[in-house]
Symmetry: C2
Subunit: 381 residues, 2 copies
């Protein structure tokens, strides 16, 4: 074990207030010993419970309950909702039926990424955007107002609770019923808990499988949390949160870290969600077509780092060959499964070849590194 | 001293990454011993250096340098900039000349507060919104796109550094020149530092006076910080940050704490910035006129709390009389100057009378409290 490699940096304490919002689960999260928080969409998000490494192994072997209330839901509802939702993303929503979850890059007129939400189609005239860390509901509301659309846009009082890990299916079925086995990947369905119908989706920000339950009754948040822990005792259920190591290995990009408005979806490998020739109307189409036709100039790649310790990425770490800068690391962690560092990097054209050897300039010195494709191949399976 | 009353709550550590952005001053801030951070506009904001009480006294007696880079600047520039800026706020901008800073509530169509920036008029066709904690630039950009306005909206790479306290004038004059004495309240002017022209404004989020320097050259951030500390050694210059106690006593409202989109500017005592009968075009006018005509139903008031310890406000604390809830505390601290607690509360109609006695339900028990007007009278002057 190289626990020092991912110990929590001694960042000072945070002052709690109303602006940095609690969630309906915060008391439970603190009772089971959150090791730290970050702030995400003006809301507390735990960063670890035992340690990032212990949490990593537990997530890959058992089942975890995650308070991801900070994935706020921006509701768009009304006669113009479908038109407005489509304007936000190059992903073709026209054939989606209610019950679908659609990972959808959102771009501005220049093709820059504003967010990468999962869009839940609740009805033909009603959508939730389950957003990453940016108040992108204001972009949607501004467009709606500026265009005079007949639609309401607001943050719904909905707090997702994720259940992730190889035993998540079993645990969710015990608490929310056997019908949850029938929910397809990136689909949601109604499930009953204490007499209330919740939406449960087969989604989540890990590669270990599981569900996100959209808790729209704050008074049922703690009973649901408790029911999952009670029903999962023999499954070694534990508290968790998005895990830095696991999500890097899985190639899951984090808005604000690996993606910003300075990036376009094509260089972030989101081509499959960009239907640039579909008969749909969305903001940024001309810009994205131009980028496609010219060819993206950068691309998100993986890196193995030859090291037994990886600190937090507080500034982009330059990736160099000789004295030429050819990319930048945006996220990194020490992987106990690989026994070396793993990183996500935005690499310039010509440096997209797995196996190429490069150097990363970290605050603690230069590291030898090897380019790899994403997601990282899992050495434990 | 009741240091326990305002000790930093043992909130766990925060994991640093790119999403929670460093500022150009972060290395200096850490070198002088920030006791903690909060996150504000996706950026680190220190919460204390010695202690909140020690920082309070120091701010009121000497001079502090604050890294308030998190007050991000949303730039609006182009032929339609003035029209768009006016649409955002009920404050009449039509007569403002370049060089003015205007505290300007921003509201949506329902009159709900989206932000309370200081607007800097750089030129007739160029504005900066120095924003509170919400990505309100997206609202502005969405409006501009939806209306097809000829304007650019973006976050400028500008990091304000505040110099606050009774000796701020002297310190700023030493470093940026005697001409700074001539800068009027809520005005800005160009000042020279190391051959670069910075904008310096006589503004800041305290009642102790001082300046905010708009640092648009990140490479000059540390030299400016160092120059202020070197020039101010005999003035007892120290690091600081917005102080919870001082700003409550001064009646400075915090977006996300004391103000949210559920509030309108009239109930938040911002009437003087709402020119509802001016010949200007802004979003929310009909709603605000209706609220004015009906009379606001709530109002921000101060409260004295009869206690020698005040913990953080993580949920709104109900204000009650008997079994009737008549308001809610949104911010609170223990004041060493008053020797009791001070709080900001949103009070229902009928409970706006200074001197009225009420009860506050805190997580640590019920407190006797007395309503007072804002700002709190300063017992030390």
């Amino acid at each position: 074990m190289h626990s020092a490699a991912v110990s929590l940096e001694p960042m000072p304490t945070m002052w709690p207030n109303l602006r940095v919002r609690n969630t309906p689960f915060t008391e439970r999260v603190e009772a089971v010993g959150a090791r730290g928080y970050t702030v995400y969409n003006h809301m507390l998000l735990p960063i670890a419970f035992r340690s990032i490494i212990d949490d990593y192994w537990h997530l890959k072997q058992h089942v975890q309950v995650w308070d991801v209330s900070c994935q706020r839901q921006i509701e768009i509802v009304g006669p113009d909702a479908a038109r407005l939702a489509q304007m936000l993303t190059p992903r073709d929503l026209s054939k989606a039926v209610p019950g679908r979850c659609l990972y959808a890059p959102m771009v501005d007129a220049a093709g820059g990424l504003l967010n990468d939400p999962v869009i839940l189609k609740l009805a033909d005239d009603r959508f939730w955007l389950s957003i990453a860390d940016l108040d992108v509901g204001l972009w949607v509301a501004g467009l709606a107002h500026g265009m005079g659309l007949n639609v309401r846009v607001f943050e719904a009082d909905v707090s997702p609770l994720a259940v992730q890990g190889p035993k998540a299916n079993e645990l969710v079925a015990r608490v929310l019923g056997e019908s949850t086995h029938d929910i397809g990947f990136f689909r949601f369905a109604s499930v009953e808990f204490m007499g209330h119908e919740f939406r449960a989706a087969r989604t989540g920000w890990s590669k270990q499988g599981g569900f996100e339950i959209y808790v729209d009754r704050p008074d049922l948040a703690e009973p649901l949390w408790d029911a999952l822990f009670e029903a999962g005792a023999d499954l070694d259920v534990g508290p968790g949160c998005p895990n830095l190591i696991e999500r890097i290995e899985g190639g899951l990009l984090s808005y604000g870290n690996d993606i910003t408005v300075a990036n376009n979806p094509l260089e972030c490998r989101l081509d499959q969600f960009c239907h640039l020739d579909a008969d749909i109307d969305f903001i940024g189409r001309d810009a994205l077509r131009r980028i496609r036709d010219d060819g993206p100039r950068r691309r998100t790649m993986g890196l193995f780092l030859d090291t037994d310790t990886v600190g937090p990425v507080r500034h982009r770490w330059p990736v160099v060959v000789g004295d030429e800068t050819i990319g930048a690391v945006t996220s990194a962690a020490w992987s106990p499964a690989f026994g070396q560092g793993v990183a996500l990097a935005m690499m310039e054209w010509g440096w997209w070849t797995p196996g190429a050897e490069v150097t990363v300039e970290t605050p603690d010195g230069r590291l030898a590194a090897t380019i790899t494709d994403l997601p990282f191949a899992d050495p434990t399976t």
